[in-house]
Symmetry: C2
Subunit: 211 residues, 2 copies
């Protein structure tokens, strides 16, 4: 990752991107506390004062990383999901988009999921915000499509469980990278749409038409 020898005097915007990339890399590998500003500046190929001049304190830098990565992943999902479709198709497209993104951006995922959640203060809030948006999305999907009247808590907690299942499966996936994204996404889709009850009977869910 270390940038090679002496690419000098770049404009600020470019340096900021380099620094952010390095920061996400280091934070994702080491976590907030164990990561040092020295290492980040080293990986970015600049000196520490530049880091402070451009991105502020360590906490500010970390918060900025979280915000950037959270925005990226939410945009990826929003782009991938197909509104005005049946609920199951919407969920399916959302899951595909999510696992697709994680597969291509492991570091982004780690800095979001593993690191941000454990640091107190504004980081958790930043992450909780994105997570909350994801949960609301699923909760709305559930509420609008269910026939039985469900409480707010009901839908929200189910959505939280689903989002958590996705997060956990993504984590599992990091240790089994040979599986394609589509397969992993399909497994989760089957679990949450059909349930174990159907799966043990051999009933599976599949998309209405091979898109």
């Amino acid at each position: 990752m270390r940038t090679e020898g002496r690419a000098k005097r770049l404009p600020r915007a470019v340096r900021e991107r380099q620094i952010m990339d390095a920061a996400v890399d280091v934070f994702s590998r080491l976590g907030f506390h164990a990561a040092s500003m020295d290492e980040i500046s080293d990986v970015a190929g600049i000196s520490k004062p530049m880091l402070y001049a451009y991105l502020g304190s360590k906490e500010e830098l970390f918060a900025t990383c979280i915000r950037r990565e959270a925005t990226r992943i939410m945009e990826a999902i929003a782009t991938g999901v197909e509104p005005d479709q049946e609920p199951d198709v919407q969920l399916w497209s959302g899951l595909r988009a999510f696992f697709g993104f994680v597969g291509e951006n492991r570091a982004s995922w780690q800095v979001l999921h593993r690191q941000a959640s454990t640091q107190g203060g504004p980081f958790a809030a930043e992450l909780a915000d994105m997570r909350g948006r994801a949960v609301s999305l699923v909760a709305a999907l559930l509420t609008q499509s269910t026939k039985a009247p469900a409480t707010q808590h009901e839908a929200e907690s189910l959505a939280a469980a689903l989002v958590g299942a996705g997060e956990s499966l993504a984590e599992w996936w990091l240790d089994h990278p040979e599986e394609p994204a589509g397969v992993v996404a399909a497994r989760l889709m089957n679990l949450v749409w059909m349930g174990f009850g159907d799966l043990v009977d051999g009933n599976v869910w599949h998309p209405p038409s091979r898109r």
Copy 2:
């Protein structure tokens, strides 16, 4: 939490328990890096050298905490689950035991789930071990009861998703403590056994007989 003034000269075994309790408390609130040995010894009501004399280095102490809490939670589940029953009943009793434990031991849960997973090194291994046992338990339940032949990966990843859903729901629950454990457990049971597909049609799962 701070133990009150000068309870003097206790036997080693008692002190060790006090220290472990304090350590779990502090680690769960602050995380591994942010927690200081000074604070732990302070909360435990002793001085730092005692800490080192009895429990070794900070890393050793943390690993010991994880092992203790992991053992406690796995034992709670093992005690609660009812073998030789139908798969859904086994799952249900396991979920009840899990949420029951988390409800009564928030700190234990946090030190396990949030803190341990983010620190590299032996901690993650320690936790992954427990988590792996939980996943294997569920995977076995799935494999033995399914009629369709499932691959190892298939069962394992589904189990990982389920365990993650449970973890995530437990986390959600920490922010909504007014809900009773049984209700939360039932929600997850419905999600993973019936699936959204059934739930939106108003079909719910319920235990075969009100135990």
